[in-house]
Symmetry: C2
Subunit: 411 residues, 2 copies
């Protein structure tokens, strides 16, 4: 198939990442010098920009500005979580016809790949030739067919550096530090806390991911064992942890304190409540058991800064820009649709490649941390995870350690 | 006065910072090549190491290792918040005699300068010649006699970069983002959130510091005004905000929900409660006023990562290392005691110098954000603050902005 003459549109959806601009800038760079691509449009606020005809002229921005934007966190094209209804898919199709848009590239998670798949069906039904591509994106790293998703490595880099620092901070006074990480129902981002460890005894000493049922009593005993060994304990916990019946842990810990919304649902994320509830539980457990008289304990919720901190992983940036360019190339080669994904070729030296996979293989599915990445006790990551994650986050901040074997002799 | 022959001890106290190792490494570098300084000891866990004779041999570490440690956050000498009693000051004096320690350098906040002052009195009373120096340290920046304290600039750098990222993130969907910053009763660290602004309309749009009485109703109206203008609002709030009667805001907002400790005190910091309570208040206010049907709002508490994130400000690092060396130099020149402080010579080009000030001028006092750094409404910082703060944090992460004047014409 040849190149169709027409316009292209790019858009971004869902929670932004530190490199999501690189996704669409990569697409634009891949199309920019192709004469048949008459215009390159950036739809503002995801598909809402298509529905309301709000398009930025991206070719007019110039290469230097685009490169600068690609190095900036969050999406300069703004976002939405709007899931289109049937009539909206029809309206978008009208807009594509009105503006002669023949190429559509959406960067987003599995909801976005699903939306693109529906758009595709609508276009095919009317015989309108459209080339539709999904560019994977999510800090949660929960998309099928991807070794890792653009955005994950930068968020993982932040989490690893943050835990490296708080672990050293915790060592100064002892006590318990607990940090709650993003990732919804996938534990990849929480697991990244272990990538910052500096010595065999450094934290996080315990890591809890949603892939394993969380047992509050066992958690307390785990912390007690670490505390008895080191007089301190650093813990990473996923926001999505649940018990063996699938009940969110925050709900179990504070059923009577929480306010339900108008649908009777308890708010489980977006607050510091889980960290605070777990820390309260540890305080009462360790104090009642006489492990410590008054536990010094602090719970932090790492929050939005995980996905928006402006420190991109260099691997993430390069791969994401390249993945966007790959999507453009595939479209120009005559492919009709698909999702572009990152596949790993080798761990050491680290090498990856891009692949075009069917939209339906990504749409509406969730990928989880592999079994081999979590230990049998379900309270830590394995060496297999460290080996997998290390190449992605780039060089972390350097550190030096005192040689405490060189003590002054007691007199 | 000449150099006394004997040993030197360095220690660190209070909450660590990203550059506190540079404070004592600077002292060690300043003493290392002086033959009269027979040994250089690092007391572990602040003054507790002196009481229990736990000293690391610092000269034996070698210069390269010390430099690597100086670039590492948190204190490799560990810390304590222990305030010595009279008999402990006597015991420390015995230890100084036993180990022939003639030089004492403590890096810490105003509690540490007070402890050093008491040690000094005890030594003078017994006619034991001791040279005692306080090296200023605190991310709160609340020490008298200092233009800014070692550690502040790196924490400020983190806060500025974090708000730069979350502001861009907030722009993608709109809504309210509120971040609670450290600083106890001083607003310097919260104010640093404004140093990451990228454009005249970027956040934080509102900044609340403890130096100004916080009025909940006025706060709600402030947010409403910003929200009406931008469909979003990014807010930085100090953990130490109080109302006009000095009552902590968290206590006012959630008196019935909080648990008091055994002394009847409500826990006001170290949890995500203040951010959550303020966000809840904004949700109900803006929804009841009909400003928005369902407010998208998130409150983060920036937590310990503010002081331990491993990304040192280069200005902070160089100044802190230099301040330690300056303390060593002053001790070798024959000064008996004092606190070493950073003074500003000029804003642009930025230039600072070191000064030896009396221990009592720092001990037990608190410095606050100057009036000129907060606007008349008490809801933002001024240009004077920006001018003061900018040179300290070093270059922030770069960014690029789309030119949204270049829109595609509607057809």
């Amino acid at each position: 198939m040849s190149i169709i003459k027409g316009n292209a549109v790019v858009f971004t959806q869902g929670g932004p990442t530190a490199v999501i601009n690189a996704s669409w800038v990569g697409v634009v760079l891949g199309l920019m010098d192709v004469p048949e691509i008459t215009g390159i449009y950036g739809s503002l606020n995801g598909i809402d920009g298509i529905l309301h005809e709000n398009f930025v002229d991206l070719r007019a921005q110039g290469r230097d500005r685009l490169i600068a934007v690609s190095k900036t966190p969050a999406t300069a094209l703004l976002s939405t979580r709007h899931k289109p209804k049937d009539e909206e898919n029809q309206k978008m199709l009208e807009m594509f016809k009105k503006y002669n848009i023949r190429y559509v590239f959406g960067a987003g998670g599995n909801d976005t790949s699903e939306s693109l798949d529906l758009m595709n069906d609508a276009a095919k039904a009317q015989g309108f030739e459209l080339r539709l591509f999904h560019v994977a994106k999510t800090v949660d790293n929960d998309l099928m067919e991807n070794d890792h998703t653009p955005g994950y490595a930068s968020a993982a880099r932040y989490v690893a550096n943050a835990f490296r620092g708080v672990d050293m901070d915790n060592k100064c006074f002892g006590g318990v530090y607990l940090g709650v990480c993003m990732g919804r129902h996938a534990g990849f981002l929480t697991a990244a806390s272990a990538l910052g460890r500096t010595t065999p005894d450094s934290g996080p000493h315990l890591v809890y991911v949603p892939e394993k049922a969380f047992d509050i009593d066992r958690f307390c005993r785990d912390v007690e064992a670490v505390y008895n060994k080191y007089d301190r304990c650093v813990i990473a916990v996923s926001e999505g942890i649940e018990d063996k019946n699938g009940v969110p842990i925050l709900q179990l810990l504070s059923a009577d304190k929480l306010e339900a919304d108008s649908h009777g649902n308890v708010q489980l994320s977006g607050t510091g409540a889980l960290a605070d509830a777990l820390v309260d539980k540890l305080k009462s457990y360790l104090q009642e058991r006489g492990v410590v008289k008054k536990l010094r304990a602090r719970g932090d919720t790492l929050g939005y800064i995980q996905r928006s901190f402006p420190d991109q992983s260099s691997v993430d940036y390069e791969e994401t820009l390249g993945l966007g360019e790959f999507a453009a190339k595939k479209a120009l080669e005559g492919n009709i649709d698909g999702s572009v994904a990152i596949q790993r070729v080798s761990d050491d030296p680290y090498k990856s490649e891009y692949k075009l996979v069917p939209l339906k293989s990504v749409a509406g599915k969730t990928r989880h941390l592999p079994d081999a990445h979590v230990n049998a006790e379900g309270n830590n990551v394995t060496e297999a995870f460290i080996k997998w994650g290390k190449p992605l986050v780039g060089g972390l901040y350097p550190f030096g350690l005192l040689d405490t074997n060189r003590m002054v002799n007691k007199q």
